[in-house]
C-alpha cells in the first residue's frame, strides 16, 4: 500500500508541476468560476434575503462545473504521446494512477475554491456567522467525493469520441446524493443552526466518499485494460 501511495504521489506531483508550468487548466477553472459568481451576483439582489438560500447551492455549483473542466483534461492530457501506455507499462499498480489523478485533481479544485468561494461571499456581501471549521470540513468531504467519482468517470470517458460531453452526462446523476447532502449541510452551517442537524448529512457524504473510493480503486484496473 505504501508503494501505491508513493507512486500515486509521483504521478500527482508530475501533473501538478505540469500545471504550474502551463497554468492551462487552473486558469480556465478560475476564470469560469469567477464568471459564474459574477453573473449570479447581478442576477440576484444581494440585499434580498433570498440570497442566503442561494449561497450553499452556488458553492457547489461553481465547484462541480469548474471541476468538470479540470477532470476532462486529466486523462485527455495523457493521450499526448500515449503517455498513459507509458504509465501502464511501468511496474506500478494501476490503482496508483487513479489515486495520483485523484490527488492532483483534488488539489487543483481546492485551489480554485480558495479563490472562488471568498469572491462569492464578497460579491454577495454575505456575512459569515457559521463555524468556519465545519464549513471547511463539509467542503473538503464534498469535494473529495466529487473528485473520487469524477476522476473515475473521466478515465472511463477519455476514450470516447465526445468525452467532454459524455463526462457531465455520466457524472451529474451519480453526484446527486452527494450534492443534495453537501448543499443541505452547507446551508445548516452557514445559517448557524445546530451542528447536530448537519451531522447526518456529513455522515452521508463520508459514507458516499468511502463507498465510491473503494469501488473506483478496485475497478480502475478494468477501465485501463480498455484504453
Amino acid at each position: 500500500m505504501i508503494s501505491i501511495l508513493k507512486d500515486a504521489w509521483t504521478i500527482a506531483s508530475k501533473d501538478l508541476s505540469n500545471e504550474i508550468k502551463t497554468k492551462q487548466t487552473i486558469g480556465m477553472m478560475v476564470i469560469f468560476s469567477s464568471l459564474v459568481v459574477l453573473i449570479f451576483s447581478f442576477a440576484f439582489d444581494p440585499t434580498n434575503n433570498m440570497v442566503k438560500a442561494v449561497i450553499p447551492g452556488l458553492v457547489w455549483l461553481i465547484t462541480v462545473f469548474s471541476g468538470i473542466l479540470g477532470l476532462n483534461r486529466s486523462f485527455l492530457s495523457e493521450h499526448e504521446n500515449d503517455t498513459l501506455t507509458g504509465l501502464r507499462s511501468a511496474p506500478i499498480d494501476p490503482s496508483s494512477i487513479y489515486l495520483g489523478k485523484v490527488l492532483a485533481n483534488f488539489i487543483l479544485v481546492t485551489a480554485v475554491q480558495l479563490v472562488s468561494i471568498p469572491v462569492l461571499f464578497l460579491l454577495f456581501d454575505y456575512r459569515f456567522f457559521g463555524k468556519v471549521s465545519w464549513f471547511i470540513l463539509v467542503v473538503i468531504i464534498g469535494t473529495l467525493g466529487f473528485i473520487i467519482v469524477g476522476t473515475f468517470l473521466a478515465a472511463l470517458s477519455a476514450n470516447a469520441k465526445n468525452s467532454e460531453m459524455l463526462l457531465p452526462v455520466l457524472l451529474l446523476p451519480l453526484l446527486s446524493p452527494l450534492l443534495i447532502a453537501g448543499v443541505q449541510a452547507t446551508r445548516i452551517i452557514l445559517e448557524n443552526e445546530m451542528i447536530a442537524d448537519a451531522a447526518s448529512w456529513i455522515r452521508l457524504m463520508a459514507a458516499y466518499d468511502l463507498l465510491f473510493l473503494a469501488a473506483c480503486f478496485f475497478l480502475f484496473e478494468f477501465i485501463m485494460e480498455g484504453s
Partner: protein
C-alpha cells in the same frame, strides 16, 4: 528466458494472434517482421502485459507471467510507437519521473549519464515540446534504458532517426546484448534487422509462419527473398 506458449488474442470477434509459440534466449536479439496488420503491435502489447492474451501462457525464467505483475514489468523495457514522454517536461524531468516509477537507484547520476549517451545532455532542461522526432526517439530510448531492463522490447526503434542516431542506437543495442540483455525488435527496416538480429520470425495474419537464424553467411538479399517467399506461401 522469455517463452510464449500457444498465445492467442481475440479483439472483439477478430482473432488477431493465433497460437503463437516463441522463445527468446538470454542475450539474444530476435526480430519479428511481417506485413502491416499482421498483429505485431498486439503481439508486443500481450508480451509486455498491456493486453491479456485470450489463451496461452507467457513464462519468464520458467515462471508463469501474471497479468499486470509489477515484478515482470520492472524487467521489461518497452519502446512503443509513441514516445510516452511528457511534452511540457524537460528530458531530465521526464527521465526522473519514469525513474521514480521504476524505483531506479542513483537516479540523478544515471539520468544525466543516459542523456550524455543519447546526445541530449545540452538540452536536458528544455521542454521537449520543441524537439524533433529524432530527438524524441533518442529520449524515448534513454527512458527505456533507465531501469536497466533484462528484456528490451523495441517497436520500430529506428523510425525517425538520422544516420548518426541509427548508429548510436545500434551500438547501444549491441552493447546491451553483450551484457546479457535479451532484445525483441519489431521492424520493417530489413537492413537494420539484418545488421542486428540473431534470429528472425515472420508474423503473418497473427501467426508465426517461419523463423530463421541469421549469421554472416546469410546476406540481406537472401533474407529478403526468404521473407517474401514465406509471406507469399503462407
Amino acid at each position: 528466458m522469455l517463452e510464449l506458449k500457444k498465445m492467442t488474442k481475440m479483439l472483439g470477434d477478430k482473432l488477431v494472434l493465433r497460437n503463437i509459440t516463441l522463445s527468446l534466449e538470454k542475450g539474444e536479439i530476435l526480430a519479428v517482421i511481417g506485413p502491416n496488420g499482421a498483429g505485431k503491435s498486439t503481439f508486443f502489447k500481450c508480451t509486455v502485459g498491456l493486453l491479456e492474451p485470450t489463451s496461452g501462457e507467457i513464462y519468464l525464467d520458467g515462471s508463469l507471467v501474471k497479468k499486470n505483475s509489477p515484478q515482470v514489468k520492472q524487467r521489461i523495457g518497452f519502446l512503443g510507437h509513441e514516445s510516452f514522454l511528457y511534452n511540457n517536461l524537460s528530458p531530465l524531468e521526464n527521465l526522473k519521473f519514469y525513474g521514480k516509477l521504476y524505483k531506479v537507484k542513483d537516479l540523478d547520476r544515471k539520468a544525466n549519464e543516459l542523456l550524455k549517451e543519447v546526445g541530449l545532455y545540452l538540452f536536458r532542461d528544455m521542454p521537449i515540446r520543441s524537439f524533433s522526432r529524432g530527438m524524441m526517439q533518442r529520449l524515448a530510448i534513454a527512458r527505456v534504458l533507465l531501469p536497466d531492463p533484462d528484456i528490451l522490447m523495441l517497436d520500430e526503434p529506428h523510425t525517425g532517426l538520422d544516420q548518426e542516431a541509427v548508429t548510436l542506437l545500434n551500438n547501444i543495442i549491441k552493447n546491451k546484448r553483450y551484457s546479457g540483455t535479451s532484445i525483441l525488435i519489431i521492424s520493417h527496416d530489413f537492413e537494420q534487422v539484418h545488421a542486428l538480429a540473431d534470429r528472425v520470425a515472420v508474423l503473418r495474419k497473427g501467426k508465426i509462419v517461419s523463423t530463421r537464424r541469421l549469421g554472416e553467411e546469410v546476406s540481406l538479399a537472401e533474407m529478403k527473398t526468404w521473407y517474401e517467399a514465406e509471406v507469399k506461401s503462407s
